[in-house]
Symmetry: C2
Subunit: 152 residues, 2 copies
Amino acid sequence: MTELDELDRALLRALARDAMQSAGALGRTLGLSQPATWRRIRKLESAGILRGRRLRLNAEALGFGVTVFLGVKLATKGRVSLEDFERAVSAIPEVQRVEHVLGMYDYRLRVVARDLPDFERVLRRRIMTLPGVGEVEANVLLSEERRAGPIG
Amino acid sequence: MTELDELDRALLRALARDAMQSAGALGRTLGLSQPATWRRIRKLESAGILRGRRLRLNAEALGFGVTVFLGVKLATKGRVSLEDFERAVSAIPEVQRVEHVLGMYDYRLRVVARDLPDFERVLRRRIMTLPGVGEVEANVLLSEERRAGPIG
DNA sequence: CTTGAAAAGAACTGCCT
DNA sequence: AGGCAGTTCTTTTCAAG
């Protein structure tokens, strides 16, 4: 287990605010030199805590104005393997996220579509035809807020 | 509306695979020079399609081994404003995401905790005491896959 | 930990096709 | 649009305190 000190946590909080700032700029806000800051970032990366950065794409600007969360129950549990379902669902480009969960549903999917008619097409021709799919429940996204979450 | 050509889409797909690659390396795979690639990235950013990068933090390595999705119905709709609920829920550090949705639930929350006892503490002392909260349904995350989603 | 420096590479600018 | 050449900035590594 990697022990984080207060500087590491401040560093991660600052990077969560702006993932693209340079090690020099980060060090200035932390009271560290550029090499010291850079070494801490490297350490957090090799410890597996910091796993790089991911693109922030604006689905709306790309023409995908509808985001829907689907709760999926598998109908024929045991007859169709989870792997079959996951492989089939991963081939649907409109699916942004596949979450295997425990509880009222077996899977939660995040699906984007251009508009509601487009979403109906995805739902009827792609989702409802997935192997083993049973009950499906939908929630349309109105707005969302992402937060950094707890650090250490 | 910004019109994307095939190069822009290939560029976004490549960046979705590796958000940290340089404009030069990207250009080599696209058959473009470094400045041309860089100018396309700039254009996508100022068009609002590319909204920078965000940190990929490993919650597991930070000691947060439990992720739970909560579906929340507001009990006293109209009596407590959505703003009150959102303000209160945003103050809980364990909440990583707040999604306002339409359907069976009013809000979907992504919550992380160190372990199940820690999650019970968050649920009882933080979530169930939110203003206006009604029925709450939980799904524990087993595994998840993130995909780039459709581009253009 | 720091400062300073050096080399490599990436980002950015201007000009030309 | 795209390429080339050049400048600036950052990253990455080193030596020394």
